[in-house]
Symmetry: C2
Subunit: 307 residues, 2 copies
């Protein structure tokens, strides 16, 4: 099952020719999730071939416009295109009111339900889970209440050694236990069948954490510990540290420090200030302490797992 992120907007508050405001489309084990939805996101989706009717979950980090001004337009377009499947939206307190008010004033009666869940920007917790994935939220540290998000695959099943299993003539009723890593006792003979003999360890479970917008904060490390990919904002460079501090944003070095301390596999940098042509300097700055780093670009797809 694949796990990847399409960057729909890698810019900060001011859109530029090459960078739209924040939005990311995540496909994880055939679950389709949108994180943030800056103005123009629906147009980016068309441009990059994202089929937005597939989206079932929308996560909004905070109520700065470059992270949600495109949401009501996206929902309206979903409606106009005949959507009838419900959608879940997780976002800050106040978001539901804004969206419902705008839809109502426009006279739109949606043919699909919107299930809002308000986030206070202070609490961490599980937002959603099914048999394959989990979505968590955790607080970031910004000028207004802001939520980070973690999307992770659940622990996968152990891999059955089918030939050996058959050769020993065991009942197929044992398979689910073995796959979950449980041994089984034959109640008549007292014999123990060990899952270790008949299975290999499960494939790796991958994860993706989204941290934007935030000032440098070690408080987030426990929530993103050991993730496969960390997207961390890097609005500025070290030379703009004063500006970063004043606006509660991070530098590329800040992001690298967090990545290092959280022991993540790979760091993606985004939310670059409009003053930068691209993220090469950000990447360079971060690389001095954390090698596996890349700045993201609109329209590019980052593969967390192809398995």
């Amino acid at each position: 099952m694949s796990f990847n992120v399409t960057i729909l907007g890698s810019g900060a508050a001011l859109p530029t020719f090459s960078r739209n405001p924040t939005s990311q489309y995540i496909v994880c084990n055939d679950r389709h999730i949108l994180i943030d939805c800056g103005e123009g996101t629906q147009i980016q989706m068309r441009k990059y071939g994202v089929k937005f009717q597939r989206i079932t979950h929308i996560l909004i980090s905070h109520l700065h416009g470059d992270h949600y001004f495109g949401l009501v337009g996206l929902l309206s377009t979903m409606h106009l295109l005949g959507r009838d499947q419900g959608i879940k939206i997780y976002g800050p307190i106040g978001l539901e009111n804004i969206i419902r008010n705008q839809l109502e004033l426009g006279g739109a009666k949606l043919d699909f339900s919107i299930e809002f869940r308000s986030l206070d920007g202070k609490s961490a917790g599980l937002l959603f889970e099914d048999k394959l994935i989990e979505i968590h939220t955790f607080p970031l540290k910004h000028r207004i209440p802001t939520n980070g998000f973690l999307i992770k695959e659940k622990q996968k099943e152990r891999i059955l050694l089918g030939d050996l299993f058959k050769a020993d003539g065991l009942s197929i009723a044992l398979i689910p236990f073995f796959k979950k890593g449980a041994d089984v006792e034959d109640l008549e003979t007292g014999k123990i069948f060990s899952h270790l003999k008949y299975t290999l360890p499960p494939k790796e479970s991958f994860s993706y954490a989204f941290c934007s917008d935030t000032v440098y904060s070690e408080n987030i490390i426990p929530y993103i510990k050991d993730v496969t990919y960390l997207y961390h904002e890097a609005t500025f460079l070290e030379k703009d540290r004063a500006r970063a501090k004043a606006t509660f944003h991070s530098t590329a070095m800040d992001a690298a420090k967090i990545a290092l301390k959280a022991n993540v596999k790979k760091l993606l940098l985004g939310h670059l200030s409009a003053r930068f042509e691209n993220g090469e300097m950000h990447e360079q700055e971060a690389k001095s302490i954390f090698i596996n780093v890349q700045f993201v670009e609109d329209g590019k797809v980052y593969i967390i797992s192809e398995l």
Copy 2:
């Protein structure tokens, strides 16, 4: 003084690759006016080189998202770029609340004032005037309250025949009267100095009317009588008449009939449904009864007057 319209969005509810939702930038005698502001308008402005800090008046026709979802983002960007000049916004009841609510939740304290004036979509009237221009509103007929707009140059001054005036040795105090078309009497001699002798008729005053969205309605004709350019929506073609009626939109033929009956000089067609690749068929349909017609395209500038 020039008078022109830049089309920032010529599409209808669903954005396409070539057509953004509705927005138009009007320059009239160095006054800078925005009509409607669909999602992505600020990005279109950058693309087409519109300096949006010059805008002093924003007119919003109605609260369907394709006509205003880009407004709050535009205002936020104006703020981020350091605007301190106030702005006037004329739009439907409910708009002010939406915009102020979003700005407040985002924690933005604007450095410029917004003066809102609510329009009920039922009344006609003068919204603004200065020494050179007037802005009027009038009701359209759509599913929700919707406003049309008329921007017109005031009647210009008569043109002084300077050489003749000097040759006759008249006092310069008479010039303002002559330019306004008034005769002046010499109170001592009783002699009348006729403005007709010393002036030529004023240059033509031009005007632009915006009608979107609306079903065919002859009620609007008195408001747009004899305008230089009429922009009238033409979401559909005659073959889609049932759909036009059901959604309170017009066909190209409807727009042409209105143009003919209102005796306008030129008709511009826009707000084309996403089902059409371009407006060639709309133009053709309208031309069968009104020859001076053109469909508009994003990024193009239509010159109402170069004088």
